[in-house]
Symmetry: D5
Subunit: 119 residues, 10 copies
C-alpha cells in the first residue's frame, strides 16, 4: 500500500478561531482478513474538530480504497487510519469508529478517540 | 447572493425572562459544489435559545433558498449561515448542524455551536 | 377562549414524599396560524415531577382542545400552556415540548423547561 | 387482591459483591380504570441493582397478573408496585417506568426511581 | 462444560499506550433453563477497553457455544462470562449486557460492568 | 359470558349501493388460555364490506372486553367472533385476523375470511 | 358547511390520452364526532386516474379544512368526500382511504373505490 | 433424533367446514451445520389451512427443539419438517419458510409449499 | 431549458433477447412551482424494461438537473420526463413515479406507465 | 477472472419431485466501475426453484468475490452472473436482483428473471 501522505490531501481550516465538528460516514469500507484471505466490510465514522487543517473528502475516499486488497486485522486498520489522521490533521478532537459486518454470527466495532483538551 | 440582512426578518422574543429552545429542521437545503458545479443536498437543523430576538420562519426559508445556485463548500456554507444567525439573533445558545447526502459513498455533517454562558 | 382555570382539573398527589415523573404525550394538538388563518398541527409532550398537585387527563384534553380555533403563534402557544401548568400544578420540574408539522418544508419544535431545584 | 408477599418470590443474589443491573420488560400489563371501569393496558419496565435479593420472574408475572381486574389509577398502580419491590428486594437502585396506551388521543408514562447511594 | 482457559485465545494488544474501545455483539447465544430444561436465547454485547490483551473472536465464538447445552440461570451465565473475561483480559474497562428473548410475556437484560479507573 | 346479541349494536349502512371496506384494528384484545389459566394477548383486525348493516364501534369494544376472563383457545376465539359478526352483519365480505403475542418463543395468527361473491 | 363546488377548483388534464395515477396524502384531516362532540383525526389518501379534470391542491386543502368543526361519522365523511370528488372530477378510477387515529384502543380505516372500466 | 410421531401432538379441527389460515412463527430455531459442526440459527414460519387436524403448539416447540444438536443442511431440514407436517396434518394448504441468519455475509431462506386444490 | 436530446445519452442494450428490469431512484430532484416561484423537491423512480437502448446514468443526472430552475407543475414535469424517456429509449415497459415532499400538509405522487405488450 | 465453472460447486437436489424456492441474499458484493475505476457496492438477491441441481453456498461466495477487482457495468455483471447460474443450475425458475448503492445521488437496481413454465 502506498504512503498515505502521497494520497491524502488537506486544506486550511477557514474558521480556526471556532470549535466545530465535522462528521464523515464511509459505509463502503472493505479490506481483507489476513487469517482467512476473505474480504471484510465495514462502516467508518470519522468525527473531528479541526485545528488548522481539514481533510479533503475525495482524497480520503481514495486513501480508504487503498485498503481494498490489504490484509489487516480490525484493531490494526482502525488504529492505523487513526494515526494517519492524527498526524496529518493534528485535530483538537478526533474519534474513529469502525463497525464491521457479522462473521460467524458475531459483529465487531472498534472505536479510538483523542481529545487534546484532556491531555 | 443578496445581503442576508435584507432577507431575514426577526421578531421580538415575547418571553425574554425565560430560557427556552427553538429547533428548526430544514430538510430541503440545496447549494452547488464549487469544484464540480454539481448540486449538493442537505438537512439543516438550527437549535437556539433566543435572547431578545427570534427568527421569522418564512424569511429564513427565503434566505436559505438564496444558496440554491451558489457555489460553496460544506464547511463554508455551515459557518456562514451560523455567522449570520449569530449576528442577527445574538442568541444565548445556538447550534447549527448541516447533514449532506452521500457523494462517492461518503456523507458529511458539519456542526457549529455557541453557548454564551460558556464564554 | 375560556379561562383555563375553569376547564383544567387537578387532584392531590398521593405520593408527595417521592420525586417521580409523569410524561403525557398529546399527538392531536391543533391551533390556527394568526398570519395565514391556516390550521397548525403538532405533538405536545408534557413531562413533570408533581409536588402537591397532578393534572387530571380528561380535563387536560379539553383544555388543549380549546386552542382548536384559536389564532396563536408556535412560541406563544407553547409558553402560554407552560405558564398555565406552572401556575396550576406548581411542579418541582416541568418540561413542555411542542413539535409542529412541516410548513413550507420547515418543521419547528419549541421546548420550555423549569427545575425548581435549579432556581 | 391478595397480599403480594404471598405471591412474589425472591432468591438470594449470588454476586452481592458486585454492582450490576437487571432490566425486566413486561409489555402485557393490564388493569382497570376506577373511573370508567374500562381496561387499561401498558408496558412496565423494571430496572434494578440487587443488593442481597433478586425477584423470581415467574412469581413477578403472577403478581402483575393480579392487577388484571383491579380498579386503580396510573399513578397509584406504578407507585404501589414500586413500594412492593422496594420492600421485598431492598435494592441498591430501582426504577419502574409504566407506559400506558393512548386514551382519548393522549398517552401517559409514570416513572419512579430510587438510588440508595443518593440518599 | 470445559475449562474456558482451554478454549478462549487472546492476542497481545498492539496499541497499549492508547485507550480505545472494542464492542462485540453476539446475537446467537443460547443456553438451557435449569428449571424447565427449555432453551434460552439472547444477544450478548461485550464492550471493553483492552490493557495488554485482546480476545480472539473465533475462540470467543467457540467459548460461547459451550453454553449451548448447559443449564444455567440468566444472572449466573452473565456473571460467569464476565468473570472469565475479567480474568483472561484484565481490561481497563468491561461491560457485558445479556438481553434474553421473552418468556411468558416478559424479557430480561442483565448488565455487568467494571471500570478500573473507578476502583 | 353474556349473549353477544345483547351487547353488540349495529346501525344501518347509509351507502348500501356501494361496495366499500371498513377495517377495524383492536390491539388490546385479551383472553385466558384454558390449559394454563394464563392470560393471552393479541391484536384483532376486522376487515369487512357492509351490506345493510355496520357494527357500532363502542359496542364492539365492549363485546371484545367480554373475553377478558374467558378461557378459550386461539382457534376457537377467532372463529367464534367471526361467527357472531357474520350473523349480526351479514356482510358481503369479512376477514378476521387474530395475531397473538409469543408464548414459549412461538407466536400465532389465525385468519378467517368470507366472500359472498365467491360462494 | 359551504357548498364544495364553491371551494374546490379543478384544472384541465393536459394528458387525457394517457392513463396515469395521482396520489394525494393528507395527514392533517380533522372533524368532530357527532356523538361525543370530540375531535377526530385522520389521514386521507386520494388515488385517482384523471379523465378530463384534475383537482387543484390548494382548493382541496381548503375544502378538507371545511370539516374542521363539522359533526360527522367516519363512514359518512369518507363517502361524502368520495361523492364530491366523483361528481367534480368524473375520474376513470378513484380510491379514497380514510385512516382515523385510535379511540378507546380501536382504530378504523374506511376505503371507498370506483373503477369505470369495471362498471 | 426421536420419531416426530412420538413428540408432535395434534387436535381435531373444530371448524372443518371452513377454510381458514393458521400462521405460526418460530424465531428460535437452531440446528447444526453437518459440514462445519457450527450451530445454525433461523426463523421458521408455518402457514397452513387445516383440514381435520391442527398441530398442538407446545408439542411443535418440543419437536423443533429436537433439531438443536442435529447436523443437517438448510434444504434438508426445511423439507423434512415439511414432510412431517404434511403427513401428520394432511392440510389443505401448507407453506414452510425457513430464514437462516448470515454465514460468510450470505443469508438463505428456503420455502416449500403445498396446495391440495392445485393438485 | 435545453433540448433533452442534446444531454441524455444512451447505450445499446447488450441483452436484447431477454426481458429484464432496470430501476433507477433519484431522490434529489428539484424544480420550481410556477404559481409561487418556490422550489419543489421530490424522488423520481424510473423502472423500465429496455428494448434496444439503455439510458446512461450520468447523462440522466444532468438532464434531471436541468429542471432545477424551471417553473413546472407536478403533473407536467412527470409526463414530460416520461415522454422524453419513451422517445429516446422506446422501452418495452416504462413506469415513472414522482413523489413530491409535503406542501401545506399535503404530499403528492404522480405515476405514469407504459407496457408495449398491453397496447 | 477465472472460469466460474472452476469455482462454483453444485450438489444434487434431494427433493426433485417438489417445487420449492431458495432465496440467497449477498449484501457484500463489490466490483469496479470500468469508466471511473471506482469501486461499486451492491446487494445481490438470488431466488430460484431448483430442478436437479442446487448451488453450494461457500463456492457461490468465492465466485462472487471474483468480481472484487473486475471492471464491469451494472447491467453486464447482473446478466453475466444470471447466465452462469442458468447454465450451471438449469433451474425451473430464477430471479437475480442486484441493488447498487447511490452514485451521484442516484441508485440503480437491475433484475433479471426466468420461468421455464412460461417459455
Amino acid at each position: 500500500m502506498s504512503d498515505p501522505r502521497a494520497i491524502l490531501e488537506t486544506f486550511e481550516n477557514q474558521f480556526p478561531g471556532r470549535d466545530y465538528v465535522i462528521e464523515i460516514v464511509c459505509p463502503e469500507f472493505t479490506s481483507v482478513c489476513p487469517m482467512t484471505g476473505q474480504p471484510d466490510f465495514g462502516t467508518l465514522t470519522i468525527t473531528y474538530t479541526p485545528d488548522r487543517t481539514c481533510v479533503e473528502l475525495k482524497s480520503l475516499k481514495l486513501y480508504l480504497q487503498g485498503f481494498r486488497n490489504e490484509g489487516i486485522f480490525y484493531e490494526n486498520v482502525t488504529n492505523r487510519i487513526f494515526d494517519v489522521l492524527m498526524e496529518m490533521l493534528k485535530p483538537r478532537r478526533l474519534k474513529l469508529a469502525a463497525a464491521f459486518t457479522p462473521r460467524g454470527g458475531i459483529s465487531t466495532t472498534v472505536t479510538v478517540s483523542h481529545d487534546s483538551a484532556a491531555d
